[in-house]
Each structure stands twice: as C-alpha cells, then as structure tokens.
C-alpha cells in the first residue's frame, strides 16, 4: 500500500524571471507544457493532469501524478540467424560486449534469430529532472530572447530563480547558465513586484494560494476575469460602456501581477479631437481602454489597469499621474492636429514625391498616379464617376505625410478622411479615403461606399502588381508586404460589391504601367488572387473538387468574377443530387472513351450526319446543337448559369441512351470516327461550364 502511494507524485516547476513581454507569455505556457510532455514521453515517465500558470515574472507548470520512477526499459537487439556461422555470432556478441548466455533465440516471421534483450532499470525521476530542465531551458523557443551577465543561456528576459518541488521536496540540482554561473533549484519564489518578498513554498497544493496572498494571480484566466469583472463594475457605476478591445485586454493581462482597475478623466480641452485620435493615443502608448457614453460617443473617461495594490491614497496618486501623462500625450496629438490643419493636400502630396514607396517602385506620390490611371478602368464597375475616382486616388495617400499619421501610423486613412472633410472636398472623397485600407484582414469588413470599395481595390491591385513585377512575391510563410492579405481584400471586395470584371480586366491595365512584363508573370499574379478565392470558398464549406473544376478552366482569367462565383455555388448546390451523380458517371465514361481514343490526331471535328445509323445518334446530335445554342447565349450570362448547368445535366438521358444502344468501336473507321467526333463535340461544350472530370463521384 505504502509503495503504491509513493509510485507517483506531483511536480511543480516555476521559472522566475524579470518581466517577460506580455505578448509572449501565453505562448510560452503552451510551449512549456509541450516541452515537458515531450521530455517525459521520451523517457517513459508517465504523468497525469498538467496545469500551466503564467504571469509577467512567473512561468510555472504543475504536473500531477508523475511517475517517481522511470519505466523499466527493455532494449531488444536482433543478431544473426540462429544457424549463422560463428564469425557472425561473435561479431554480434563483441559489438554488444556480451556473452552467448546473454542472448536467446526467438522465432520471428522471418525465421529464428539470436536476440540480445537488455533490461534497464528505470531511474528515479528526481535524478533525471535536472537533465530535463537543462534540455527544456536550452531548447526553449522564444520569439525573441536574450543573454544576460556572462550567461550562455537565452531566455525572454533574465532568468533569476527556479522553484522545483517534487512531492513537496526540493529536487536537488542546478541549471548551468554558462561561465560557471548556476541557478540552484529552490523551494522559494517571489511575490508581487511591489514588495518583492521572498516566499517559501512548502506544499505544491498551497502554491497558488500563497502567491495570491502575496498579490500575484498566477492563473492567466483568473487575472483576465478579474480585470473584466472590475472593469464592468466601474463602467456600470459610471454609466459608461467599453469600446471593446479584446486584444488590449489580452495585452494588459500580461502587464500586471495583480490587476487594479481604475478610472481616469480626459481634460475637456481634448474632447474636440477626433475620437479615433483619442482612443489610439490612449491605447497605443498607454494601454488605456476608451469608454463610450449612452449616446455612443466617446466619453471623457478612460480605464486603465495598474499593477499596484488597491489603496485609497496611492490609487489617487496613480490616477492623477496617469491623467497627467495622458494630458501630455494628448497635447502632443493636439499639436499635430493643429499643425496638420494648416496644411493642404497639395503640400502633403508634394512631400510624398520624396517618400519612396519601395525601391524600384517610385515614390508614394507615383503610387497615387498609378492608382489614378487604374481607376479609369475600374470605376465603371463600381458605378463611380471616372473623374471623381481619379481625383480621389490622387488624394488618397496625402495623410501619410501628415504629422498625426507620422506619430500614429494606424490612423492612416482615418486622418485623411478628417482632413479632406475639413478642407471641403466632396463627402464621398472623404469617406473613400477613410475606409480604403479596409478590409484589414479576413475578419474585417469591406468598405461601405462604392467609391471606398473602388479606392481600396485599386490600391491593392497596384500594390500586388508592383511587388510581383519586382519579383517580391511571397514565398512559403514569408510575406513581408502582406500581399496575401491584399489579394484577399481584392476578392472580398469583388464578392461584396458583386464586381463582374475578369482577372484580366483587373490586372492587365495595372501591368501595362510597368515595362517588360511577361505573360507568365501576369498568369502568376492572377492565379495568386484566385488562390485567395479558393481559400474563401473552402472556408465557406464548398468542396475543393467543385472549386477546382471551375478554377482550372482554361479561360478562367477571362471569365467574369461573378460568373466564376455563381458557377461554383450552383455546382456545389446540385453536386449531391442523384440526377447530377448519374450525369457525372455518364460524363466520365464519355471522357474516358475519348481519352483512350486517337481523337486528338483528327484533322477536323466536323460531324457527318449522313453517317448516322441510328435515331439515337441523331437525337444526341440534336442535344449537342441545343446545348450549343444555350452555351453561346448563356455561358457568360450571370443570371442563366443555373439554366446552363441544368441543360448540361439533362444530357444524361441522351448520353446514357447513346452508350446503351450504340457501339462506338465498329469496324467501319468512318462511322467510328464520326461517333467519336460526336462525343468530342459534346464534351467540349460541357466543359465550357466546368471541368467535371475533376469532381469526385
């Protein structure tokens, strides 16, 4: 009984360091768990439940029911066959440094062999732990790490202590840091930074509680929950709501050991600044939450999360300090605002002539010139007046030269919108400038106005074209210019605004603005954009074979976008119907016969009706002619794609009849060829809709 109880135990390892960047904490916890699992699995040490705890300075893992002893290991080595000669056998014995009595003969499906079976007694886990700690710390992956003092070890920030308890006892050992510096495993840690008290941990079961008593909430979710809870209480008390910002909440959770949520006020003098400026200034530099009043306007209050313990007198000081910092920040912002208001778009555009967009791609101003040219070919599809489109393109980047955007790059577009409005450009222009960086990723919405959608798409068309032309297309996981996101944006806008242009129409004009563009590059560029469509459709649950059957069409780059979209949707809808399945079987049969025939060597594909021997052939010929009419009339007609597909699908009857009654491989070559031509004509018409052979049965 005693033995059984002692066969497993709990392990606590805590890496205590100086403040680890907030953005790395969560991931480091995940990585720590994986590292320990890997280390124990590799050594045949079994474990139970694992808990990860992360804070700014503490990174800890608690592992329940860890084997106190490694499993005994059996290593089996196969030697020569049992009837092998002495030389072979001795070689085997010598190389393993064993005698014949250490081996045994075992039957395998390949015959009898000598085997050396070695039993290795499992070691005590606590003897192996130091080696595991070394392995994990030296192999730890941080997105960015450093050395300190004279160490060789790298950690996100200097590692100062390792608390290591197995069954509530310190595991003897140490971690070498390099240059004879070590950290000895200990049974203590430290509390909140404010007191920095050294705390002894006697029992793993009390670890979290003791730390909370010392004002460190180690469980990230608990800390986040406390912030959310206290935040909500403050909001309710002050009749405010939050400008929701989940990412900011995550970040703040990593900046505090014991959150103390407080409310501060914004001086009235700054409330006339655009709300985006206020909330950006608060968030980017200060990590403050913005609040909104019951009318949905930005309220003159901000919420921040301090790392100090709540104390009336200190809280007042801390609030006052934060208000003062914000005041300084906002008076800076105010200075930029006032200074920008005295400038014109011409002044900024003039500055942009000197700002390089990217080496070999001219200035940012040159980019707007290109965008203006591209707008000529795109504006109509967005129902935007061409001269207004061109003017908007030329004004769209001016704010990049403004002081406010210089300070807060994330306000690009937004500031341009404000300045354009205040200068008195048309409302449409201002709106377009404001929203033309949208969508900023897969989850963001697309611009609302037509002109905004147009401006956004031409900006992205130009960017993609430019970087492809200078050979900077993304490779593997590297996409430094976020070109995939641009391409995704183009597709999202095409879908959202129901733009019915072809890929060729979208890109040929922007490619014409560059010299020496090869056909291959154009194809690559258009395929790159279509690849994003593929991803969007897959995410919508459409089967890949359906998507591929359309996207592999030879004329895909000259097929209007909405037709592509509609065809895929229509095909996906009927794909599982019985009717379609029957058609598919017949089509594939037809296709296979053609593939194994010598039809491609024919000099012409004219069908001679005089060679028909059966009314079934005539019937199929009639069906072909009907389909030809439908296809000519409707293949590029957006509203009749369903009709087009249905016409194709209905062909299952004449095709089936044809196969049931007609033998293609007849002796008479002329008749045989004529029948093949009949089938060929039919296939060529059918695959104008989609490459049905790709679709799985």
């Amino acid at each position: 009984m005693e033995d059984y109880k002692k066969s497993t135990g709990d392990l606590l390892v805590e890496f205590f360091s100086e403040e680890v960047p907030a953005r790395m904490q969560f991931q480091s916890g995940v990585h720590l768990e994986e590292s320990f699992k890997k280390a124990f699995d590799k050594r045949d040490i079994r474990y139970g439940e694992i808990e990860i705890l992360t804070g700014p300075r503490h990174l800890a893992i608690i592992i329940k029911q860890l084997d106190l002893k490694q499993q005994d290991q059996i290593i089996e080595k196969r030697g020569p066959r049992s009837d092998a000669n002495e030389k072979a056998l001795n070689g085997f014995l010598n190389s393993n440094d064993i005698d014949l009595k250490d081996t045994e003969i075992k039957d395998t499906k390949n015959g009898k062999f000598h085997f050396y079976i070695k039993k290795i007694k499992g070691l005590d886990t606590k003897k192996i732990i130091p080696e595991i700690i070394h392995e994990i710390t030296y192999g730890f992956v941080w997105s960015k790490s450093q050395r300190w003092g004279s160490t060789d070890l790298r950690w996100a920030r200097p590692l100062r202590n390792i608390l290591l308890l197995l069954n509530d006892e310190v595991v003897e050992g140490e971690l070498e840091l390099g240059n004879s510096e070590v950290i000895k495993f200990s049974n203590y840690t430290y509390g909140h930074r404010h007191y920095d008290k050294k705390i002894k941990i006697d029992h793993i079961s009390c670890y979290k509680k003791i730390l909370i008593k010392n004002h460190v909430i180690l469980n990230r979710d608990d800390r986040k929950y406390k912030i959310s809870y206290d935040l909500e209480a403050l909001l309710t008390k002050n009749k405010l709501s939050l400008l929701d910002d989940p990412l900011l909440l995550e970040e703040v959770t990593g900046l505090v050991e014991f959150p103390n949520v407080m409310l501060g006020s914004i001086s009235n003098e700054f409330m006339s600044l655009p709300p985006e400026v206020l909330s950006t200034a608060m968030k980017v530099h200060q990590k403050y939450f913005s609040t909104i009043d019951h009318q949905n306007n930005l309220a003159p209050n901000f919420i921040f999360v301090a790392n100090s313990l709540s104390d009336t007198k200190r809280d007042a000081t801390v609030v006052e300090g934060n208000e003062r910092v914000l005041k300084a920040r906002l008076s800076d912002a105010n200075f930029f605002w006032e200074s920008d208001l005295s400038k014109t778009f011409e002044y900024w555009n003039d500055k942009l002539r000197k700002v390089v967009f990217y080496e070999g791609l001219g200035s940012v101003y040159d980019k707007t010139l290109r965008m203006s040219k591209i707008s000529n070919f795109v504006s109509k599809a967005f129902n935007v007046n061409p001269s207004l489109a061109s003017q908007t393109a030329l004004l769209s980047k001016a704010d990049l030269a403004s002081e406010m955007v210089g300070e807060f790059p994330e306000l690009q577009g937004v500031m341009g919108g404000y300045y354009s409005d205040l200068i008195g450009y048309q409302n449409e222009i201002s709106k377009a400038i404001t929203e033309h960086y949208k969508p900023r990723g897969a989850l963001d919405s697309i611009p609302k106005t037509n002109i905004g959608g147009m401006l956004s798409i031409i900006d992205k068309i130009d960017t993609l074209t430019c970087f492809f032309v200078i050979g900077k297309k993304p490779t593997g996981s590297k996409d430094p210019f976020a070109l995939r996101r641009s391409a995704l944006g183009i597709v999202q806008i095409m879908i959202g605004f129901k733009i019915n242009m072809t890929m060729h129409e979208l890109f040929s004009n922007s490619l014409n603005l560059h010299n020496n563009v090869s056909k291959a590059l154009e194809t690559e560029l258009m395929d790159f954009v279509l690849d994003r469509l593929r991803i969007i459709l897959k995410a919508e649950g459409i089967k890949l074979d359906v998507i591929e059957s359309i996207l592999t069409l030879g004329i895909i780059h000259k097929l209007p976008f909405q037709i592509i979209y509609k065809r895929i949707a229509t095909l996906s809808d009927i794909r599982n119907t019985e009717n379609f399945k029957v058609f598919l079987v017949n089509f594939k049969r037809l296709n296979n016969i053609l593939k194994s025939s010598n039809i491609l060597k024919f000099s012409n594909f004219d069908i001679n009706t005089d060679l028909f021997e059966s009314p079934i052939e005539t019937q199929l010929f009639q069906a072909i002619n009907d389909l030809k009419l439908v296809s000519e009339k409707y293949q590029f007609n957006l509203n009749n794609q369903e009709y087009f597909l249905n016409t194709i699908k209905e062909l299952q009857t004449p095709i089936n009849l044809f196969f049931e009654t007609i033998i293609v491989n007849v002796e008479n070559e002329a008749i045989k060829d004529n029948r093949l031509k009949l089938m060929f004509s039919l296939r060529e018409l059918i695959i104008k809709y989609s490459n049905f052979d790709i679709i799985e049965d």
Binding site: R147, W148, P158, N307, V318, A328
Partner: protein
C-alpha cells in the same frame, strides 16, 4: 512639506547613488550626440578591454527633429539623459534601479512601477538590446536595456544600460505640466532662482529655427563627407589605428545626418543609405577599438 527635488538635485542624487554603488562618475561627452548611448564610455567600453565596466554620467542630447520652438510643453531638441552602464549586468539590477528612484524622492511604494517591453535598436550604431521602458503611473521615465550587440559585434558579457529621461522624471517628481516650469536650482525666484525655461527657452527657439529653417544644407552635406573621410583615414592604417578620434568623427556624422533630416533634405530612400554609412563608420571604430 518637503520641497520637491530640483532638477540639479536630481542629477546630484543620481550621481551620488550610482557612485555609491561603485560606478565611475564620468562627465558628458563634449560633442553633440543623439543619446547617452553614443558616449564612448558606453559604445566602445562595453566591447572591452575590461570585462567589468561600471560608469554613470549625465549626457545632454540633441534630437533636431524634436524641436518645437519652445511651444510644446513636452518636446525639446536638446535635453538631458542620465546614463548608467554596468557590465556584466548584475542579477539585482532591477532592484538597484528601483532604489535609485527612491533616492531622487520618488517613493516607489506610492506609485505603480512597471517594466513594459521595449526593445532598443540604434540602426546607425549597429546596436541592439532587449529591455523595457519603465513606467511610473503610466509615464515612461526610463529606458532599460540589456545590450546584445554594438557595432554589429556581440557584447560579452552583456551590459545593462539604464537611461533616465531627466526632464520627464523631474516633471513627474515636481508635478509640473510644462517642462519650462521645472525648478532648476531649488532657489526662490526672488532670490534669483532659475527655471528650466529661464535657462533653455531661448535656446530652444533659436535652435528650432536653425534646425528647421536656417541650417545650410550644402555646408552640412560637406561636413558629413568630411567627417566620413576623416573617420576612414584614421582607421586606414592597420598598424596605427586611432579608434577614439575616428569615433568622434562618426558621432559628428551622425549628428549632421540628424540635422539634414530635420531640414527635410533626406528622402526616405537616401535615409537608409546615410544610416548605413554611419553604421559602417561605427562598426569600423568598434572593430579598431577591439583590435587595440
């Protein structure tokens, strides 16, 4: 109630605190620099020859583009940093730093002190490090860096650099909202006491005008070329290297580049090449320094 520490007393207290710790107290470097880091006591010394190096000094810094003609209460083109460089970085450096705040009248127990990720990089020095900006009640008062590289060379052992932004710190301690209202000397106004504005306002106005409007770009360009040439020539003879004078020229080139930048004379594409030229000088100086 105790009188708030004056600007000069903050400097004096920091000096005596770090001298007490064992730092060599140095004086500001006597040429224009963009940050305390540029002082050879930091850039060159962390590369050797000794593996233990502890120094503290005040350094006036120039950032021409930050000039606001004395009209902005928080931005200056000339300001002070207090710099502490300790190599190898001690294990209790954070606590040493926190105690230093208490030494200048900032009772940390009454405030919210935080270390927020802020990695530092100086492209023109080819230097980088990991660390934090230190917040006191949301105000950034210090840059704290573990030097990993200087002049593109690994710093071994790692040095810890603490850079106090003195104006910000003083504004915080004195609870002043305009930098020009800072009490400089702790002497009453009617006794001839001076504020920061009394001493520097005129200078901010004149230098802003110089930096943004009046500097002669062609002369500056020539100065840059001269400095670069001089730097290279001082490092040209492998048997007779003069890294310290060469480094002076590197710092000068860096400042001239900043002046040209403020004048709007450098396009974004040129910018990169200027930075690379300064970085090349810095690297050559560092290598020559290690050579000696």
């Amino acid at each position: 109630m105790n009188k708030k520490l004056s600007f000069q007393n903050i400097i004096l207290n920091l000096q005596s605190y770090w001298a007490g710790y064992g730092c060599a107290l140095l004086q500001p470097y006597d040429t224009e620099v963009g940050a305390g880091t540029f002082h050879p006591a930091t850039v060159l010394r962390v590369l050797g020859p000794e593996s233990i190096w502890k120094a503290a000094y005040l350094q006036p810094c120039r950032r021409p583009t930050d000039g606001r003609y004395g009209e902005n209460p928080n931005r200056l083109q000339h300001y002070y940093q207090f710099q502490v460089i300790i190599q190898p970085s001690p294990h209790d450096i954070q606590n040493l730093y926190i105690s230093s705040l208490n030494a200048i009248g900032l009772n940390t127990k009454d405030h919210d002190i935080r270390f927020v990720e802020d990695d530092w990089e100086s492209p023109s020095l080819g230097a980088s490090g990991l660390g934090w900006e230190v917040w006191c009640d949301g105000m950034e008062i210090t840059q704290f860096t573990y030097f990993q590289q200087v002049g593109g060379i690994e710093v071994k052992p790692v040095a810890s650099e603490i850079t106090y932004g003195l104006e910000r710190l003083a504004m915080f301690i004195q609870k002043v909202e305009n930098v020009y209202d800072l009490d400089w000397d702790g002497v009453d106004k009617n006794q001839g006491g001076k504020t920061y504005g009394d001493i520097f306002l005129q200078s901010e106005k004149e230098f802003s005008a110089y930096n943004f409007e009046r500097s002669d770009a062609s002369i500056l360009l020539q100065h840059f070329i001269d400095a670069e040439q001089e730097c290279n020539s001082l490092l040209s003879d492998n048997k007779n290297l003069l890294p310290l004078p060469a480094y002076d020229q590197c710092i000068k080139a860096s400042h001239i580049f900043n002046l040209l930048d403020a004048r709007g004379m450098i396009s974004v594409s040129e910018r990169q090449s200027y930075i690379l030229r300064v970085r090349q000088m810095a690297r050559s100086c560092c290598l020559a320094w290690m050579e000696k």
